[in-house]
Amino acid sequence: MNLVVIRRKAANAVVAGLAAMAAAIMLACLAWIFHALLARGIDGLDVAFFSRLPQPSETPGGGIADALAGTALLTGMAAAIGVPVGLLAGIHLAEYGRDCAVARSVRFVSDVLNGTPSIVVGVFLYGLLVRPTGRFSGIAGAAALGVIMLPIVTRTTEEMLAMVPGPLREAAFALGAPAWTVTFRVSLRAAFPGIMTGVLLAFARVTGETAALLLTTFDGSRTAIRPTGPTASLAVTTFTHAMSPHHDRQQLAWTAALVLTAAVLLLSIVGRMLRAKVRWPSWR
């Protein structure tokens, strides 16, 4: 072989090696994160963890029942607003207003909101709801989570509806179906698995959300779960306990982080599996 060929092959091998190394580094990080979560978190994973309230420091046997209930309440309230509004907005973008000025600006603004750091959303609702009322509240937290959910649901719904082949709608119109029937019984039904992906990914995103809640619900540990006052949540409880110097608190934090990660991964994996089911023939 001549020298040029050897040099070119060597360059190829070096780049392949570097690319493989990058992938290996990320895989190692993933393994390291899982190892840290499991090694430190699994010890605290018992019934008391899920069923009991936090105990005063240095008292063993505490749990995070309040945080679990709080997260369920907050995400539920956020979804009750964010999901239907996002769905309808997605319908507008894909079915009715595709290329209008309104649709184009909504698309852009949704992407901006999606890229807005959650801490900024937290400051926004702090200024809008917490400061004027003088108290941290579950309502403010749920509103922050709703603002985070909205663009995710909107854009996935639009994307999935846009993938539904036009001839499917045309066929329904040709049979004399009115527009709302076509939207609900043809387009939405055809895109349903994909739309569920968006909803699940939005849930996954807000379940792990911490920064926005830190500024709106605050740390509501050991308070009653009610939307008008400080509310505990899994993410914020994880944060405050991880920052604590007490070992039993840190143990709780790791177990909470393990549960949090498991929940978020479950939601996003199911979501991605649903999306993978969406396959349309190219009838264009």
């Binding site: 992938a23 507008h92 937290g122 036009g166 709302w180």
Partner: protein
């Protein structure tokens, strides 16, 4: 490129136009109802964004009108003495984001190229799955992992070497600090950047790559001469989108960066960022000016991330339009 034609797509923008289909009265009412509801829901995003901008601007009014740009050039933070200089968090954000990008860009481009070009099928799937999992892990978990796992390793092995052999990362040795925070930040945004990059790489037409290979190019030569030039703008866009993430990230950084608002000698020692300063200070801000400064910081962050996003999105979409999936 025109989207697949739908009968009703011709006059979408004219309000009140009747759509095809049966013209019975109840149907017409339901159609109007659904159209109206969908339009209203779409405008909610616009209203929310406007409310966000207005709330932050009004909150920051004291700073924007009274103090002017003074706080942005002052690096002394001391609420007791009414000193609210925010130069340190701003520089901290710039430095941490730059370091994070320096770590994330080679990693993410390497992974994306590995997945689409070099890896055998099974390994490519494994790596792609791992990237998606990494991208969905909540940032607070990255922060805890950094604090309890990466920090100690860096503090006892890497930082001593760096501070004795280079001019950077001087100062007291600690688990916390700019270095460990930026490293975690970089590892956190790398999967996100590589997912965008991978989507772009997958759009490069097979025929173009095959043509280059048929001319005798090695894999790397195909990537260097055909694939990367094809998606170069999109790739820059992907990196810019990653920058947007890095600039605004709070939880992955807050555990590690140390957060003294009036840091000591070195810019690379424990420091803070705009996001961590807000998270630490907002709940305790009692005076008007204190709150206003934090609101101004949040407004800066919003304007900055919006601009970054608009730029990155435009670049990615430019390439995505050129080579539709």
């Amino acid at each position: 490129m025109s989207r697949p034609g739908v009968v009703a797509s011709a006059h979408r923008c004219t309000a009140g136009r009747r759509l095809p289909g049966t013209s019975g009265r109840p149907h017409r009412r339901l159609d109007a109802l659904l159209r109206g509801a969908a339009w209203t829901a779409a405008t909610v995003a616009l209203l929310v964004t406007a409310a966000l901008g207005i709330t932050l601007t009004r909150g920051a009014a004291t700073v924007l009108s009274g103090l002017g740009t003074g706080v942005f050039l002052n690096d002394r933070w001391d609420p007791a003495a009414q000193q609210f200089g925010v130069l340190n968090p701003i520089l901290g954000t710039a430095v941490s984001a730059a370091l994070a990008l320096a770590i994330a860009v080679p990693l993410s481009v390497g992974i994306a190229v590995f997945i689409t070009e070099f890896a055998p099928r099974w390994l490519s799937r494994l790596a792609a799955g791992a990237i998606e999992v990494l991208a969905s892990i909540p940032s607070i978990v990255y922060g805890m992992w950094g604090l309890f796992a990466i920090g100690p390793v860096l503090g006892s092995h890497v930082q001593p070497w760096l501070s004795s052999h280079t001019a950077f990362f001087q100062g007291a040795l600690a688990d916390h600090g700019m270095l460990s925070a930026s490293l975690v930040l970089g590892i956190m945004i790398a999967p996100y950047v590589s997912m965008v990059a991978r989507d772009l790489l997958a759009r490069v037409p097979e025929t173009v790559k095959e043509a280059a290979a048929a001319l005798g190019a090695t894999r790397w030569e195909v990537v260097r001469t055909v694939v990367l030039p094809h998606i170069r703008y999109g790739l820059v866009g992907a990196v810019i989108l990653g920058l947007g993430r890095a600039v605004g990230e709070t939880m992955a950084v807050i555990f590690l960066i140390g957060n003294p608002l009036d840091p000591g000698s070195s810019r690379y020692a424990p420091s803070n960022t705009i996001a961590t300063a807000i998270a630490k200070e907002l709940a305790g801000a009692t005076t008007d000016i204190h709150l206003s400064v934090l609101m101004a910081l949040a407004l800066c962050l919003f304007v900055l991330t919006s601009g970054i996003l608009a730029l990155g999105r435009a670049l990615v979409m430019r390439t995505a339009r050129k080579v539709p999936a």
